[in-house]
Subunit: 270 residues, 3 copies
């Protein structure tokens, strides 16, 4: 099942419009090339709708935001919805400022997402924002796996998006089915933007497999985690997080559909 | 001949003002340092003329554009023209939006370029824009080598710039003489911004060799392609596009004038 | 002494708000992760005060400036002062334009810095700006070590910041005590943003050791130089500046407090 997700990317070579932050844009473009897709980065409101229209899918990354960039996220998202292109949201640091909180709420309100990838805190912020918006009170500070599962499912049912909550254990859910993924390595936390890279990879997986968003998301999460494990296995004694960063993208580049099928470690949960 | 181009960079250490996109700015700065030059990146209209004035050459990269950045490209270009500094244009994705098409046409209209580096589609867009501007009809959708040669020569004659069309075969022409370059490796397409990097390298080559723009451009294209071959030759089984990206810049760093002379593969064509 | 500085970072894991340029933001985030801290990059005036408030320290990098970014630098700096968070200034290319000169003067006037890291030319510009502002005439074009020492001490006494002047020999001073650091390798000049990376590292060192800013700065400078030496020691024949860039960050990642204590090379000077 997962092998087919990767095979489809390699065959269809989806072109992904990424509105990205400037910290991780190079890595996100390279991981898209590594998996078999490619990227156009364009983040000005005056051109994003046209750029979205010439691409196959869209990834909206909220990092290093500005009012103009947020306007661009919204315009691109609406155009992708109009055209039926899959849209992935990465609400980077959505709880860090009022500007980001408002942007997260507006995006959830006005754009339909195929997938949302975030850590537990970001998901809690989105849920709180959404909940507040609907007059519901939420009080979910703790980040236990159970709480994250509840939040992720709730956000998925509310938005219609597959929700991917990354952390020590990664969770993938469409609100009904829920997977826990055990791939990955703790050292991935020492690479800036490993979450952004996963969101970019998700964009390619879902765009190339639009009928199977849950399986596509599961494949992306397993692939990224497996790449982190493979990369860790080749570290030399003097290597650190900078070489590790390169090895992770290298591993995606060399990942065969068969290797993903064999290496993916996940279980269905509830 | 080509060896002298590189030797001049190493001797003159040209300082290049790059107005670059945020996806590839780090790689472009590092390839300029690798070849023996150096970079200042500054992209705000309020300071670009001053920054251009303190540099030796200018590279205008149209990626991740915004109205302010496009204003900066124009201001810097005009100032470089006024001072007699060589200017290189990289019209990244110029066909991707109305904003970029208009910007490309304006830049060609108001700035004199020493060199323009682009892929076939970008060159076709520039030609069409230029042609339309002059009431000429063009219909050149196909990207056959012959069509690209025709377009590149025409653009060179119209603008006075050396035109470098990159693709499976790279073409370098000043409108009269035309070279086909056979260096390079298909894997270079899997590295984001390999075109941007070549444009930065072109900036250094032409700035250090202002009397010989055609030879300087030919040297840059051969050097970049040769670096791609050398980098490919050292790939380990687990290496992918991220390590390859580093190896290409490494190869420029270690490229001797003699190695370029020996490894350059090109032929004069018509 | 120096070992304790690093040990404190590893223990406290300071979160650093970096307002950075887009050329080196990825490397700066990764070196902060390498040393044991972490980074949030946010550069819009509408959110920087809030982001600063949730972090432990602040690094203001003046590269790729714009009016909005300069407004963000000022807002964040003032908020960090209000909260008592350490602030590091990296006045990238402050002499390159009127906009940057004015910004440098404004920042020195309105923000209290714990540390300022710059090369000789940038320090001379800051001193001249400050001096002019106070009606003092300075004429210090030469960059001899003695002149740099005088400028660095003067700037430190004027601002209350520890001043780090990087060059062939690095200088660290609080205006009274002055250290000359002999770690480092000439090849570090071939890596774009090695100065920005040092400023980010400084942010972590000083934030985790707020009572000892001089020692924290000395540790950061020795650590960065030692990393450059360790990275140089592992270069393979085909490696160049791109691999070197990764190896430097790797070396910070693997640097133990004991290795820093043993490898640091500095002397007290006057």
């Amino acid at each position: 099942m997962l092998s087919e997700v990767i095979a489809q990317i390699r065959q269809k070579k989806p072109l992904i419009h990424c509105i990205n932050n400037h910290v991780t844009s190079n890595d996100c473009a390279n991981i898209l090339l590594a998996c078999g897709g490619s990227a156009i980065m364009a983040d000005d409101p005056d051109e994003v709708a046209e750029v979205t229209a010439m691409c196959d899918g869209l990834v909206l990354n909220m990092g290093t935001p500005s009012p103009r960039k947020l306007e661009a996220l919204l315009k691109a998202g609406k155009e992708a919805n109009r055209l039926g292109h899959p849209v992935v949201l990465d609400p980077v640091g959505v709880g860090s400022s009022s500007m980001r909180k408002a942007a997260g709420a507006t995006l959830l309100d006005q754009v339909r997402f195929a997938a949302i990838r975030a850590n537990a805190a970001e998901i809690a912020t989105l849920v709180r924002g959404t909940a507040a918006h609907r007059g519901v009170d939420t009080d979910l500070e703790e980040a236990s796996v159970d709480a994250v599962k509840t939040l992720a499912k709730w956000l998925s049912l509310e938005t219609g998006a597959v929700v991917i909550a990354t952390g020590d254990t990664d969770i993938v859910t469409d609100g009904k089915t829920l997977y826990r993924v055990h791939n990955g390595h703790p050292m991935m936390k020492t690479v800036t933007g490993s979450g952004c890279q996963l969101s970019a990879l998700l964009g390619a997986c879902i765009t190339a497999n639009p009928e199977l968003p849950l399986e596509a998301a599961l494949a992306a999460v397993c692939a990224m985690g497996l790449a982190g494990q493979i990369a860790h296995g080749r570290l030399l004694p003097l290597d650190g997080n900078a070489s590790y960063r390169n090895y992770i993208i290298d591993a995606i580049c060399n990942l065969t559909p068969e290797a993903l099928e064999k290496g993916a470690q996940y279980e269905m949960d509830s």
